[in-house]
Subunit: 197 residues, 2 copies
């Protein structure tokens, strides 16, 4: 009952995170309803992004300039190298405004199950970057999951003979977090890392 | 920190139903990550929909043919005219597979607050269609909300001197619905419309 063009639009939209088959249908309808103000501009914005946005060959960030604006910014501290799982994590770090170093985007995490090995994540290249005399500290900011921590340990092992200090993000109670809503692992970590008040 | 192209993509995506600012950012990232398999095909599908999908001048449905496939289908019962709020409601009716008549899409509901009057919904044209000798019954399938029922009553009043029977969808317990989860209004309506077992 729906034409093949709309069917295809729904099918592609349903592959976006956060949109299931039902909400993809609603999104497709909204797009067709707002042809001039939404459908045409969004199609153009996507075509432009496909045309212009590239992966930074240095850090793996997405940007329209090569290398990306962060890698090219001389005010960023070249002595700090922050290792993140993906560009979403890089953006999350940037939103804090509290990190002024540079990044290495892995593009995934080590996973025997999914067949992701060190070569898929460019870890040899990362170790090469860490050997640069300018780099003093590598911050392993992979997620606090089993795969995230396995990946962090693997990278730390391979950085052992580099002249850099290797650090990781602190575990603890999230700002604004209530103890009652936290898992035991987080509370245990926060207790172990307790500081003088 | 995000280029203007990605910023614009996020901003447009966040106007889709079901995507807030946070999920629009995730969707934009997914698109850029899957440039070949998702971003380019979706941009093309949107451009094609913008180019080909039209509003049916007879019923208000969206389709690539004019009039739409439903209006043009000689097997559809021309004696039944179902009035729905929007194309989403039309699609919902079609998914049931149990309605074989034709539609009139209002494109909204009467709302003094939002300044939506009868002329915005093409109600005069709907009354004109109902005067066609082929039409025997107009089914008012607007939502069971205050605005939906106000709109239905308004249309029913204006169909009073047409030679058609005017009906509405039944109220009652949804199939699979538990009484404990239903509002009092629905239970009252289901009780009043009770049928011999």
């Amino acid at each position: 009952m729906v034409g093949p063009e709309i069917e295809r639009l729904i099918q592609l939209l349903s592959r976006l995170p956060g949109l299931g088959p039902r909400s993809a249908r609603r999104a497709a309808l909204r797009l067709v309803e707002r042809r001039e103000s939404l459908l045409i501009p969004l199609a153009a914005a996507m075509a432009e992004a496909a045309d212009k946005v590239k992966t930074c060959p240095v850090c793996g960030n997405f940007d329209t300039v090569t290398p990306c604006a962060i890698c090219a910014d001389p005010r960023r501290d070249a002595s700090l190298l922050c290792v993140v799982e993906d560009v979403a994590a890089l953006w999350a770090m940037e939103r804090t405004g509290s990190f002024k170093g540079r990044y290495a985007v892995l593009g995934g995490l080590l996973s025997a199950l999914d067949g992701v090995g060190p070569e898929d994540l460019g870890i040899a290249r990362l170790v090469e970057r860490a050997r640069d005399a300018a780099v003093a500290e590598v911050i392993l900011a992979t997620p606090a999951t089993v795969e995230g921590q396995t990946t962090a340990h693997y990278i730390a092992d391979h950085l052992a003979d580099c002249a850099v200090s290797v650090t990781g993000l602190a575990h603890g109670v999230p700002v604004g977090g209530e103890l009652d809503h936290l898992d035991e692992g987080t509370i245990t970590a926060a207790l172990r890392a307790r500081r003088r008040f």
